[in-house]
Amino acid sequence: MKKIIFIIFIFVNLYATDNYTLKLYEAILPKIFDVPIKVYIKDDIKSILSVSREFIVVDSCDETVDILIGKHFDNLPESCQKKPVFATSYNEYKDNIHSFGAFYWRKGRPQIRFNQINLQKYNLVLPTELQKYMR
């Protein structure tokens, strides 16, 4: 039992101190959507979000999915094509008409962005602490 508890202790602490990207996602999306959030992901971030209790990561997209996270969403089923998108690249954020927000690297630093028009389109409300990222 001691060993199991010790492994949990190590795991939880490694997880807590190392995975800042996961912490960021957990600090943003649960403030906009009800948890657990069902997500379809097309990005390397999939393996990171898979361990979170705040997200249910699915392998195929259907009408029950809450949001899409990632970039280059080709060949989506029709039921998924109008789902809100949280982009992981600047190009996806800029070019995808469904992207309400994004977390990406640009100009050498990580950035968060929200699109007011698309937030309104999906009736999504940003909490006060995230409104400064709205551009």
């Binding site: 957990e26 600090a27 600047y90 050498g108």
Partner: protein, 640 residues
């Protein structure tokens, strides 16, 4: 569940809850900016002793030139030779380059000089603002990248659009009217391709020295263009460099140059790709230069030559042009316990000396040579279990020279490594044997070789090295112990010519490293090193002691960096301190203003350059000049 288990569980939960609550989003972004590091994806886990400079390290160190990085890098540091060229293993010789066993790569493509071997001769003092991160491996790290023998590998990884999309312009100005302007643009294209383009102009003006009324200068005007086009499986690189350099002491026996210039250019065009288990590369390099040297005491040297029937050099003018073509193929097969890499590389070095005029006499009008190298290698990684790995590898190189067949060589290198890891410990044991041959510029060279027309023995390096690393919480402790025997090392005789040394050089080293990342954005790093070298040509034993101390701090909008490098040995009997510090003011996310001081105490490690008296023709007190100038730099950068 007993009390200890309950306490641990409560502690874990509390830590996690507190952590989540404490971190605001802006702070998380800062931490991700600092910690998210591409080297996590590129570093060679079992590749010898590694030293990684992340993009955040490079940014906070304000390291704009590779010498800023190399000067504190285990095991060699930074040094410059008589020609003012980067040459960490110069061995106090008068040769233009002795560091061929340090190989340098950009994004897995080797930067090479067809004549001098390693591209360190070109890149050792180049601007590196196109670079994302740098990995340095020592101890015969891998055969995966090496077409030719490599004791140390320096890997530069260029910036990628996935992190840096957008544009940047920056201007640095500093001491000695040094100015450096660079800019880049990078973008993800609509398909899965991206590109990166970079341009820089550096008037790298350095401190000048006066010796016997002659001026010694290492100034350099450098124009650099770099571009890459890539997707997940393919990369095309283009690197163009144009240089006009003052070549310091150059060929002067008396350290009294009047004219001393080295103007040249460098071109690298390469492609590397992979398809499942197969990877391939093809590269073209061109390195050419024109050098001109006239001694300030030309007339006096002419008189000496006439009176004594000697041949002291008072002028030399020469041109060279070298082209290198490389093609390579590798196949990687992975099974449950084994990962096997087999590969072959073929390289052609086509080089020509033109219009060589020594002491006003045309010695060579045009002398073209071709060297062909074929390297085959096999490397295997055997996983005994999840935390014990045995790596074995061997490489065999055949070298054929079109013109100087007496120097055709066959080189064998091999390596055995054992890596053990657990949650806190990493242990690496390495046994390696490397053989290296003469670089093309030395073959049949009457200028640099004592016996130019006979075969020079290949140099053999035998190394055993033990690396131990222990990590607990935010502290990392590391120790490296090594024992190396070098047979047939090229050393310099009294006439400043190179010959194969008949004694074995023996080097015992002990190095320690301590890293404390005491919070997310602050850290301190200390290294200590002791080298004990036996059987040097000049002294029987030499003991070297070095230490580095680096601190990285972040306060509000300021990033602060401090670095102290200490060196002494029992030959010089004095203490050298290179203290540098810098502060970056992050005025906005896009605008940064920075100030950096380098070698502020003006006590950095000095290099000894031999010189003779023009009156007696005897050796006199050598010049002691540091490759690191005392300087202050102000810089401003803007991203958009």
């Amino acid at each position: 569940m007993n009390c200890v288990a309950k306490l641990l569980l409560c502690g874990a939960i509390t830590t996690n809850v507190m952590f989540a609550a404490d971190l605001e989003i802006d702070k998380l972004l800062n931490i991700i900016s600092s910690k998210d590091d591409l080297s996590e994806k590129t570093k060679l886990e079992n590749g010898g002793i590694s030293y990684i400079y992340t993009r955040d390290d490079i940014r906070r160190m304000q390291a704009h030139n590779l010498r800023d990085i190399l000067k504190s890098t285990y095991p060699f540091g930074y040094n410059e030779n008589k020609f003012g060229l980067a040459d960490p293993y110069m061995m106090q010789t008068s040769a233009p380059f002795m560091s061929s066993n340090i190989r340098i790569y950009i994004d897995d493509q080797e930067i090479i000089s067809g004549l001098y071997g390693s591209g360190i001769i070109i890149y050792g003092d180049m601007d590196i603002d196109f670079v994302d991160h740098i990995e340095v491996y020592s101890g015969n790290p891998t055969f995966e990248f090496s077409t030719e023998p490599a004791f140390t590998i320096v890997k530069l990884y260029s910036k990628v659009a996935q992190k840096d999309s957008g544009s940047k312009v920056a201007l640095n100005v500093g001491s000695y009217n040094n100015s450096y302007l660079y800019g880049y643009h990078t973008q993800e294209l609509s398909n899965d391709w991206s590109y990166f383009s970079y341009i820089s102009k550096h008037n790298d003006n350095r401190k000048e020295y006066t010796n016997k009324d002659a001026t010694l200068s290492r100034d350099k005007d450098n124009v650099h263009l770099f571009g890459s086009l890539y997707n997940n499986n393919n990369k095309i690189l283009i690197d163009l460099i144009g240089q006009k350099r003052d070549s310091f002491i150059a060929n002067s026996e008396f350290a009294t140059p009047d004219i001393s210039t080295l103007d040249g250019s460098y071109v690298h065009i390469g492609y590397n790709g992979n398809n499942d288990n197969l990877s391939y590369k093809i590269t073209y390099n061109n390195h050419n230069a024109t050098s001109d040297f006239v001694d300030k005491y030309k007339n006096e040297i002419q008189n000496i030559n006439n009176q004594n029937n000697t041949y002291h050099m008072y002028s030399i003018y020469s041109k060279f042009d070298s082209k290198t073509y490389t093609a390579g193929l590798q196949y990687n097969k992975k099974s449950n316990q084994n990962s096997t890499l087999i590969g072959a590389t073929y390289r052609i070095k086509d080089y020509v000396f033109k219009d060589v005029i020594i002491n006003d006499n045309l010695v060579v009008t045009s002398s073209r040579s071709i060297q062909r190298l074929l390297t085959t290698f096999l490397e295997n990684q055997y996983n005994i279990n999840t935390n014990k790995i045995i790596t074995t590898g061997g490489a065999y190189t055949t070298i054929k020279n079109s013109k100087f067949s007496y120097q055709d060589d066959n080189l064998l290198s091999y390596r055995l490594g054992y890596t053990y890891t657990n949650q806190k410990w990493v242990s690496k044991t390495i046994l390696s044997h490397i053989e290296s041959s003469l670089d093309p510029y030395l073959i049949n060279s009457r200028t640099f070789m004592a016996n130019p027309t006979i075969r020079t023995d290949i140099t053999k390096y035998n190394l055993i090295m033990q690396n131990l690393k222990y990590t607990q919480d935010n502290n990392t402790y590391e120790a490296i112990v090594s024992y190396e025997i070098i047979k047939n090392q090229l050393v310099q005789n009294n006439q400043a010519k190179l010959y194969s040394y008949d004694k074995d050089l023996i080097m015992r080293s002990l190095a320690g490293r301590y890293l404390n990342e005491y919070n997310e954005l602050d850290k301190v790093e200390i290294t200590l090193g002791i080298n004990h070298i036996k059987h040097l040509p000049t002294v029987e034993t030499l003991k070297q002691y070095s230490m580095t101390l680096k601190t990285f701090n972040h306060y509000g909008k300021f990033d602060i960096f401090n670095e102290l490098l200490y060196y002494t040995d029992d030959n010089v009997n004095s203490n050298f301190y290179d203290y540098s510090c810098g502060v970056i003011y992050n005025k906005t996310d896009d605008l940064k203003i920075a100030l950096k001081g380098t070698n502020l105490l003006n006590k950095a490690k000095e290099t000894s350059y031999t010189q003779k008296s023009i009156q007696t023709l005897q050796n006199e007190e050598p010049l002691s000049i540091s490759p690191i100038d005392r300087s202050i730099t102000i810089s401003m950068e803007y991203t958009f």
